[in-house]
């Protein structure tokens, strides 16, 4: 009995269930714990949380504070703005690179792809530290750039150095640098599969090269742009390390706020509430998007 079930169906069930179990145990369960914690209160215990010992057990004060206190809203907006800028610049830089890689010979292609992945062989933290060295007021990089800028500035407005370190500019710059491969790789995967004969057909029918790009390549690469955009935007909006190391506390990002709540304020429930809000703010629009995308797809297919 069992043997026959195993032969017919068992293997498939096991194989399918492994990733789901993984997500269940390592994503859903921890997330439920975080949600539960966001309804708790801070306490002098180890770990420092407690639920109210009378009805109602859940307290919503943490979420109320999210709305009351302008710090959280500001941090959300700064994060979305920075992540949006980083995504935009990654796209502007990454798209031509990805397209370029698909248009060279196979041996060049492998070499270029390898170069895109190469930075991952150095520790992420080390690369951020390298940027700190470059952006600092006394670095050769900053000095050279200052010298260059001073040649076009009038002498009385000459600068001693360009204030790049500890600024929002530095945060976006380092994020674009760090996340660029995450934009290039999905874009490349998408662009590589496009049918080149469509381009030829369009050219035969009289399209100019930029029209071919606008009418054929760009619309067909939208899924790649979306995949790359999400891969950059989502981690960038929760980024903690980059704003802590090169950023300025006056432009707080939400990752830093969560970390501050968790560690220096020892307020785990508040940190959890911010984390839950961040997740909802990021996931709900994406779920809505896929929902409507699917409906639109079905409509198109239904008509055809």
């Amino acid at each position: 009995m069992v043997g026959r079930w195993f032969d017919s169906k068992g293997w498939r069930d096991i194989v399918i269930s492994v990733p789901f179990l993984w997500l269940l145990v390592f994503f859903l369960v921890p997330f439920v714990i975080v949600v539960a914690m966001s309804f708790a209160r801070r306490a002098e215990l180890s770990p420092p949380i407690a639920f109210l010992d009378h009805w109602t057990y859940l307290q919503t004060g943490n979420f109320a504070r999210l709305l009351d206190d302008s710090l959280y809203l500001r941090a959300f907006l700064t994060s979305l703005w920075n992540a949006g800028l980083a995504t935009l610049f990654c796209l502007l830089i990454g798209y031509p690179m990805a397209l370029g890689i698909t248009r060279v010979t196979r041996s060049w292609r492998n070499l270029l792809l390898m170069l895109v992945i190469l930075p991952f062989w150095t520790s992420f933290l080390l690369r951020v530290y390298a940027w700190m060295g470059l952006l600092g007021a006394n670095s050769w990089f900053n000095k050279a750039l200052t010298g260059l800028v001073n040649t076009i500035l009038p002498a009385d407005r000459a600068m001693s150095s360009i204030p790049m370190m500890n600024s929002n500019f530095a945060v976006v710059l380092v994020m674009v640098y760090s996340y660029l491969p995450f934009m290039i790789l999905p874009l490349y995967a998408n662009l590589e599969k496009l049918d080149q004969t469509l381009n030829e057909a369009a050219t035969d029918l009289g399209s100019r090269p930029w029209q071919v790009f606008k009418d054929i390549t760009l619309p067909l690469s939208i899924p790649g742009i979306i995949a790359g955009g999400l891969l950059v935007f989502i981690p960038a909006s929760g980024e903690l390390v980059i704003p802590s190391l090169v950023g300025n506390a006056s432009d707080p990002m939400i990752g830093r706020v969560i970390s501050d709540e968790f560690s220096s304020a020892r307020d785990w429930p508040m940190a959890s509430a911010v984390a839950v809000a961040l997740l909802l703010a990021l996931v709900l629009p994406i779920m809505a998007y896929t929902h409507f995308e699917k409906r639109a797809q079905e409509r198109v297919e239904g008509r055809a």
Binding site: S46, P47, A75, G136, N248, D251, S263
Partner: protein, 368 residues
């Protein structure tokens, strides 16, 4: 390879077999010890020497921010047997049951401790039941003298006016002002500077500190506890609010890098909090025997003197003074002279309400 069921179960068992040796790790109970300390905060060979003498294998972990360490300790089950903990936060942690009482009868070196430092620590840990004084020091300001004199030739180095008078801060903004990202150090110091009770329990008073930061916030480059150790030798900062020993560490890092730099450390004349770090034993320490051996070792005058000579922080061991390098002992930034001592006080521990109000006010200041 075609996966059949036997191979599948073999694959499943493999990790279990690889894991076997680690399961037996808890061998001979007290030949192992796990220690958790600040980075760069012990003698160069202290751990090695202890292993050679006792035959106990030490796993030595470090942290670079007090918050990181405290979050870990509060979560519990850390596996550590001895940790170094900031005295000021000790009351909250003792209350939460994180640390166990220390049995003094097992420590022959307790008598070496400085009664003055014990008294300061007892303000955070009544009766000195949960912590042994390790290093101690002050909160103050390090100046890059050349960069400072260039901008303000007649600066009063003992006054916080240099940072909190907007006309001064504006002149110093381009050479870099850095403030400790540590509200428990800043608030007591600022309250005194503003002529208020440094130990006030009235959280309304914190607003005065927020107001004092407002006009100069734009001139403060960063709030930071560790990165200045690299930024000072690179001349990225000229006025650095920090802890006493960091000034010497920055100086020796500059010397290592061959950078000629003129640094001075001053404690504000309006008063600054003294801090004490304590050696503590987590309540769930698994190797208590080895932990006591290690603690008693750290109480030996020669051992702790070597730590001070390397870290440039004053220790809480009176008997160690003859073994401390003269240059370190005579440096008033490390071992404060009477003039500086008169400016230091041990702040009272903060209540839960104070803690929360202070953190909130601090976020307002930082995000200003």
């Amino acid at each position: 390879m075609k996966i059949n069921r036997r191979k599948f179960s073999g694959l499943m068992a493999a990790p279990a077999m690889v894991g076997m040796p680690f399961v037996q790790r808890a061998r001979a109970e007290d030949q192992v010890l796990n220690v958790y300390n600040w980075a760069d905060y012990i003698g160069e060979t202290t751990i090695e020497d202890f292993q050679t003498r006792s035959g106990i294998a030490v796993t030595y972990d470090t942290y670079s921010s007090a918050e990181e360490m405290q979050a870990k300790m509060l979560a519990g089950s850390t596996g550590y047997d001895v940790v170094v903990m900031a005295g000021i936060s000790l009351p909250n942690f003792v209350k939460a049951g994180v640390y166990q009482k220390i049995d003094r009868t097992k420590l022959s070196g307790w008598k070496n401790l400085d009664p003055e430092v014990l008294r300061i620590l007892s303000g955070f840990d009544p009766g000195n039941e949960h912590g042994i004084p390790y290093m101690w020091g002050s909160v103050g300001v390090t100046y890059n003298m050349d960069m400072l004199r260039e901008r303000i030739p007649d600066a009063n180095l003992d006054s916080l006016d240099l940072i909190f008078k907007p006309e001064n801060a504006a002149k110093l903004a381009d050479c870099g002002i850095s403030i400790l990202d540590s509200p428990t150090d800043i608030f007591p110091m600022m309250l005194r500077y503003l002529g208020k009770d440094g130990d006030t329990t009235n959280v309304e008073d914190y607003q005065a500190v927020v107001d004092a930061f407002k006009p100069v916030r734009q001139y403060i480059r960063t709030f930071d506890n560790t990165n200045y150790l690299n930024a000072i030798p690179n001349r990225e900062l000229c006025v650095i609010n920090n802890w006493s020993g960091d000034y010497s560490t920055a100086k020796s890092r500059a010397a290592e890098a061959g950078v000629d730099i003129n640094l001075e450390y001053h404690v504000p004349e309006t008063g600054a909090p003294a801090w004490v770090d304590a050696l503590c034993m987590p309540a769930d320490a698994a190797h208590a025997g080895a932990a006591y051996k290690f603690l008693d070792y750290m109480l030996e005058p020669e051992v702790i003197a070597k730590c001070t000579n390397f870290t440039n922080y004053a220790n809480g061991n009176l008997a160690s003074k003859p073994f401390v390098d003269k240059a370190v002992l005579d440096n008033p930034a490390v071992y404060p002279d009477d003039k500086v001592k008169a400016r230091l006080w041990a702040p009272k521990p903060f209540s839960e309400d104070q803690d929360r109000a202070m953190t909130r006010a601090w976020q307002t200041i930082k995000s200003g």
